[in-house]
Subunit: 449 residues, 4 copies
């Protein structure tokens, strides 16, 4: 300590403390004034960190040959029981291209690709397989595990707890997220202080952990006052059972309401919203959630790029078409109004897009799924992308998408945009006067003044 | 998860999250704005949920023959030791007609009929009987047990604890409410932080539970500052010993004062007031408590419809007459002013009403007690109605009142109103100028302007 | 429960809940409005409760013959080892005349006479004796034990803990107060969060109790920010280690500062100040502390009426004269300025007063100490008077002073006032203009306008 | 207690409660008014306390002969394994000259010289040696131990815990400070609620203590919102794991931001900043940190006077030159701009200063290190100076610097100032108008008006 170089000016001090790749280093007073005004920390000082390798992929990573991305067999359905065959010892250090980002405007830094466990603990996957997948993820540098499947929930938590116990990794090296589900039926009669506290206690017990890193409330309950929800979340945080909280499938209005209630009752604010985001589901993540991040620091934990909408099977698409439509928010229809023919038309258009994307990914030397993952990661609002896998091979393939990132140049991205043709735009502002039919009788000159 | 349909518009999202029978589904922005303004959640989005059967009684329940309601012998005094004789296996799923409502503007959803234990643990009822009654209630779908008898208090808590331990029901499937009593004499010298904390600790020990769902303070103590009461309640909630709190026999002014103090000191607000409510005791529940619900979210947990005021024994009524008078709030009398003759007159009038109601209930094919229960449940401010029973048969009978509800048509309700002739009305506003004798010298035209 | 009389009007409800002897029952709305405005509850609704006997001494207690007060030998120095000889079984119910008052504007109701343990655990008193004294106090209805001696502190706490353990009285039947001492030397280097928390933990351990009812901080530390003190007190209360807190030897300015800080940081406010108060030390308790009670609800726990200033030994008085002077607050002197002759004069005057008081107490059939205790209890600001004793006989004698209270008529009190001739008055307001010499040049007419 | 002299006027009370050497005793009302306005307690009432000896060094300590300071061999490098040879029993009571000061505007009073353990637990020092050094420090009256070395961190905490356990000193007699380190790499990915809580838990476990007295966060994390940091610190304090918190290497802007956030979210404010301070590193401690103390009560815990910049080896200085430059804050340079020759020049100048200081210390009969320590202690903003040692002899020598203090007269201090020639001055205010080049066209008369 007595040998340390003196850093006696505040300015030096300030600059030195910003490690990692800061594009716009904070400049003393101005930044701080801004921070004190902004709800939490400002967007400007929230930047990404690359992994232990110290290499910033955007600049320095030398990718293998294009073909290398296809080295590992990419048959997703294939499920080998002996996962130890796969040579994943190549991933003991942080995977090339994996980076660490603060999730929302919190101090929690997680890998930009994280493991969702919905496939890991799904039916037919043995405990050994699940363990191998989780081990691969951890050893690749992934530090967030999302336990959030509605159906395999309890099983996932119990098995995850056993694996964590067996692995004996240091608790500070990983982040576990858990979900609170509720329904109006059965035992969990709606969201309530009682249900939230009981759910968290039950999860802790199943996981055999002292605390959960993030608890995510799946769907808000319009019957439960937001004050009760934020106070209950603050309670479980205050008890030391939970570090952070977030939401899933909440409307932006509900997220804002939660934030407002947190501020009113001096409770800890939520840090993230978990939301679907992929090439064919863009509106929410690209138009509305960035506003949540900028205004109240709620970040986006995305999922979705592995979806079957990438297959070229038109019949299945026919039934899931709802998810593929890119609709403007103000249009209104009900299931019945849409003629069956329209739906068939739409499915056809979608299949054409998928075919074009497949061609593009072949040119890039990767699978369409890999392209889909890389495309999602390219979008700044995504702080953390959840991917899942049923086999070690599947996960390996998905992770190789990270090496695709530098190849997604501006021209490639434009080409994808051209194929998709679904870039979301905010609907034009509609004058409420006009809606009430008042303005039609008035000259436009008056309105404009 | 990867197969889930994308719900990419906030509006869709919002609507989808409202499950159950919502008569007036919330419409996006407007509702939320309202919510942020209202003290807690708005009345509009507080709706009832029917039980697991998914049947909404108001529409779909097909009742048996009218006579069926009288199938079980309706002699309330009768007390069979062998309760196992009664065939209650018919109630393993949620009882037809039982519904779940949020209590107050909280997220806690309880059965609209709940079990008060004052008769269950009263003198002469064996442990086996008590267990059978509680088991029947639970298996019928009742999820709230109110431990609140002043006299059998400690015994009730100890036995209830033993039954819950023995039954081993999942903790999230039931709600236990406990009362805090105090007197100015004896050990509990008034309400105080000390008394509240010591009471809760003692109840927890007797019940062998980790936490109580609702703690109800019986009577406010005008000698104890409201700040001390709300801070103590917040303390026991913060300790994890209690989930919610409420009041019993508090004036609306005291409830408002508690709410104001909670807001001032950032404490958790009370969610309910327990109050007497039946055909002959209507003023408080119909005129004043709905205001508490609308303004500060305090709901009504009612008790009373099983009272002996329904018997046709005039002499007993003579002594309990106080409870039967329907008085306007601004009239003043003392016990001594009322001539004995007046009281006899009143008792006679009451007996006539009871006779008329008995005739009506015979027409409807039910007992007067069943009519009384159904009539109370018909009133919207009642979030939860406590009934008690000394035998399994008695409880079975009372629960059958649920099937009477659809038959209480508007005309039947009007007929009851005609018989009772005690619909409470708010006393006319009295001008304070008039009271001071100033206005009598002034023309009415001036006052009206 | 189903038999309870309906109390369906809020007004009735409100009145019925005020049990005990309420001289001015609260009148609905008005009182509550007042309460919401006042810092805590209003003075008006803070009334005294008599003990279990239900008898209000002021009206109904029939005292024994005057002589009876002197039945028990009144030699304070006498110290019998075998305390079991004394027949204190006569006190198993609440002692005649003992009453229960809320301390400060808190809900905590304590006996108006309480046991200070400074003499009980002083040198030379055996454990058996101490136990006998405490047992007598408890069985007489005294429910507060003040462990606050500076010197026998640790011993007092350890022995008190042992006695309480042995007696096994219900925890809710007594109140234990403990003091936090600090000095600028030794281990307890001033008041600090560290010292407060460590002191409370140490006391709890010594007392073998789960919690202390009131923790009193002896002297404020001008070096320690008040925010740190109130936050630390709030911390120990929040931990469940302490129920209430108070102060001792704090200036009224310091008490106000503590209250202000509590309000600013949403901490629990102190409920009492422990202060000396007796016939020859009146200013603080009669002039300044009532303001604390009225404004911020801090009550007075008094001690002092057993002091040796009642002896007629002039020499000892000479040295303790400081405590006997009745000085107005704005006069300034230092020890050196006061001529020795003046001090001798003053001592003589004091002795004359003591002689006159002795004559009066003989007329009333009691000892001077008993008169002193009764006189103190006559003053409304005293919520709780601490007395101590070295023997069971001494305590018995002191408690008999309670029966003297009804005999202290207005004329007797006036006679005492005449003898004492030290009724404190607030010093006249001094114009700061005048102090600065500005006003002397200005005519009085201007000042008065 | 009954014998205590009555202190019945608030003024007396107030004055009496200020023990120790108060130069300017607080005067009743005025001071308190000031306190309520100032953020925390006012500077005026924050004074130093001398140790148990009751002797104020500034006046009464009679030093031994000048030569005595050099009695113990002053070879810092020398490291004797058998530390028991040194006769440190002479220090069983508080060392002459050691004094106790409140750290920041907190109530925590610590010795003005405290033991930093960075050398104590460095490589090559055996457990026995470490124990002997810590024992000497404790027995000399030092009551603060700073565990803050970046590299030996875990080892230091484990060994310190063992020593404290073995010594069994009363917990209230010492203060332990611990640091939270973080990096953007490795497991502690930045500062976050998760990292703070996990770090504190780990330290508690290693130290085998119930609580840490002060937790110091080393470097702020510009990626972590300040709200998250202050809430996490408040959490660990609220859990009872930590008493106080502070910072190290934070800019004054960051300290202000932390304070602002504490006030906004009602969290406990930090009490200290740990910072380098010695003869050749003065700007921060002399110009900027006193403002932090005056405005928000953050005190200075200094380290540094033992640094190797006091050696006369020019080559090593060449590389550490950065720490020796006294630069004005607004000058900007980068490593590359500074010509190598300039650096050599600077190093030469520095060596001349060191030589002059050596001569002066010889005149004063002490070593240069001792002079350096005494010089630092002379500066009022230093509430606590950390010194470390590899041997008992080294610590003994350093502590003897305390006896040098009275000899550092005004003339000696001026002589040192003359030699150093680096008294920091605030840079002149720069008009932003001028910076923008606007003012150059405007006459100075206008600016001055």
């Amino acid at each position: 300590m007595s040998l340390t170089v003196c850093q006696n000016t505040d300015d030096n001090n300030n600059n030195n403390s910003n490690q990692g790749q800061m594009n716009e280093p904070a400049e003393g007073g101005d930044v701080t004034i801004y921070r004190l005004c902004a709800p939490i920390a400002s967007l400007d000082c929230m930047e990404e960190f690359s992994g232990n390798t110290g290499l910033d992929l955007r600049r320095s990573v030398s990718l293998g040959s294009k073909a290398s991305l296809k080295n590992v067999s990419s048959t997703p359905g294939e499920c080998k029981v002996k996962s130890s065959i796969v040579n994943y010892t190549q991933f003991v250090t942080v995977l090339k291209g994996l980076r660490y980002k603060n999730i929302g405007k919190s101090g929690l830094r997680v890998s930009n690709v994280a493991l969702g466990t919905w496939s890991v603990f799904s039916t037919g996957i043995s405990e050994d397989q699940a363990e191998a997948i989780i081990k691969l993820a951890y050893e690749s540098g992934i530090n967030l595990f999302d336990l959030s499947d509605l159906h395999s929930g309890p099983r996932a938590e119990v098995e995850m707890g056993n694996i964590l116990k067996k692995m004996n990794w240091k608790r500070m090296t990983y982040v576990v997220t858990v979900k609170i589900y509720w329904s109006s039926k059965g035992e969990e009669r709606g969201l309530s202080r009682k249900h939230i506290i009981e759910s968290v206690r039950a999860s802790l017990k199943r996981l055999q952990l002292d605390y959960i890193d993030i608890v995510i409330i799946h769907r808000a309950d319009s019957m439960c006052p937001m004050e009760e929800i934020v106070r209950a979340m603050n309670y479980v945080i205050d008890k030391g059972w939970v570090m952070y909280w977030g939401s899933s499938k909440w409307s932006t209005t509900e997220i804002m309401e939660a934030y407002t209630n947190c501020r009113e009752f001096n409770c800890v604010t939520p840090i993230m919203e978990q939301s679907e985001y992929h090439m064919f589901c863009r509106e929410r993540a690209e138009l509305y959630l960035p506003e949540m991040y900028n205004k109240i620091g709620v970040g986006l934990m995305a999922w979705g790029p592995l979806g079957m909408y990438l297959t070229e099977n038109s019949e299945r698409l026919f039934f899931t078409k709802g998810s593929l439509r890119s609709k403007t928010q103000n249009s209104s229809w009900t299931e019945d109004e849409v003629a069956k023919e329209d739906r068939v038309d739409e499915a056809k258009k979608h299949l054409e897009k998928v075919r074009d994307l497949n061609l593009l990914s072949e040119k890039l030397g990767c699978s369409l799924t890999q392209l889909s993952i890389a495309w999602t990661l390219k979008h700044e609002p995504v702080h953390c992308l959840l991917i899942s896998a049923k086999t070690v091979e599947q996960l390996t393939q998905s992770l190789q998408a990270l090496q695709l990132l530098p190849r997604l140049s501006v021209s490639v991205m434009l080409e994808i945009e051209r194929i998709l043709d679904n870039k979301p735009v905010r609907p034009p502002m509609i004058s409420t006067l006009q809606m009430r039919g008042l303005i039609s009788h008035v000259g436009p000159d008056i309105v404009e003044n």
